[in-house]
């Protein structure tokens, strides 16, 4: 038993940080390694950012993602937990549900229930809903704590 490798998808949301805190708690208990992942949504960028802006925007987002991952890795390290940061580009849903769990042999995905935007917060984030439906890996969905971003 049972959680050697835990995947935690991160974005800028409060719920993602909540999920990370839970994952750190589990990792301490089970001596697991955490894989923090951020996926730069290049498909979405391509939709809005045709033309010259595409490369700049992608680079901006990758830079932001790198900073986010580095920052959260500090949190993991200071808790005495082993961690690895993964920066991917592509479709976040498919990457989190399928590609990353297979590549890193993940036992558990820990993610927040709601998404970043207000509409998604009403029920369940579309990424979380997608991952629960489509992944072959166990998923731990962390409930909202009622706090706003």
């Amino acid at each position: 038993m049972m959680y050697d490798k835990i995947l935690v998808p991160l974005d800028q949301s409060h719920n993602a940080d909540l999920a990370l805190r839970h994952a750190i708690g589990l990792a301490k208990k089970f001596d697991s390694k955490l894989y923090l992942i951020n996926v730069v949504d290049t498909e979405r960028i391509a939709m809005y950012g045709t033309g010259m802006g595409y490369v700049d925007l992608t680079q901006d987002l990758r830079k932001q993602a790198k900073e986010l991952l580095a920052n959260r890795m500090e949190e993991v390290k200071s808790a005495g937990v082993a961690g690895e940061a993964i920066l991917e580009s592509g479709n976040p849903k498919a990457t989190i549900a399928k590609t990353a769990p297979a590549r890193y042999d993940i036992d558990l995905i820990v993610m927040g229930k709601s998404g970043t935007d207000a509409l998604e917060r009403i029920f369940i984030g579309s990424t979380t809903a997608y991952v629960v439906r489509h992944t072959d890996t166990n998923v731990l969905v962390i409930a909202d704590d009622g706090e706003d971003e």
């Binding site: 629960v132 890996t137 998923v139």
Partner: protein, 146 residues
């Protein structure tokens, strides 16, 4: 982290996996397990009309559910985990997502992926989907990786 863990059981393979992981987690966190079986009375009424005396069918389902719970409780005890068994009538979705978590102050539900039959899944979406959407506590969805 977790003190009161709910595992709904329906006899499916994924529910068995959820039980196994639920026992392991409860043991690790010194948590109490709550084992739940729901006798789906609306469904029995829907399918059971004209099949004979209603009470026999209810008794049958209830006996099977109680056996499932007893076996699971025994399995937990073998790992030194204290488990309470709960047998309910009603709609599994709301019993699992709302009623029992609120009554027992559950902080984590361990649920097998799509424990119900394929037809219902096709028509209205699985119990698991409903619980993930509506329960207020943490939820872990367990599936067979093979």
């Amino acid at each position: 982290m977790y003190k009161r863990i709910l595992v709904p059981l329906d006899g499916s393979h994924n529910a068995e996996l959820a039980l196994k992981d639920g026992i392991a987690l409860a043991s690790k966190f010194s948590a109490k397990l709550f084992l739940l079986a729901v006798a789906d009375t609306p469904r029995i009424v829907a399918y059971g009309v004209g099949l004979g005396p209603k009470s026999n069918l209810f008794d049958d389902v209830t006996d099977r559910a109680q056996n499932l719970l007893d076996a699971a409780q025994k399995q937990a005890a073998q790992s030194g985990v204290d488990a309470k068994t709960i047998l309910r009538d009603g709609n599994p979705k709301s019993v699992i997502a709302h009623d029992v978590p609120e009554e027992e102050k559950i902080d984590l539900i361990m649920i097998g992926k799509s424990g119900r039959d394929a037809l219902e899944r096709f028509l209205v979406g699985s119990t698991t989907d409903y619980v993930v959407r509506h329960a207020k506590c943490d939820i872990q969805i367990i599936r067979d990786r093979d």
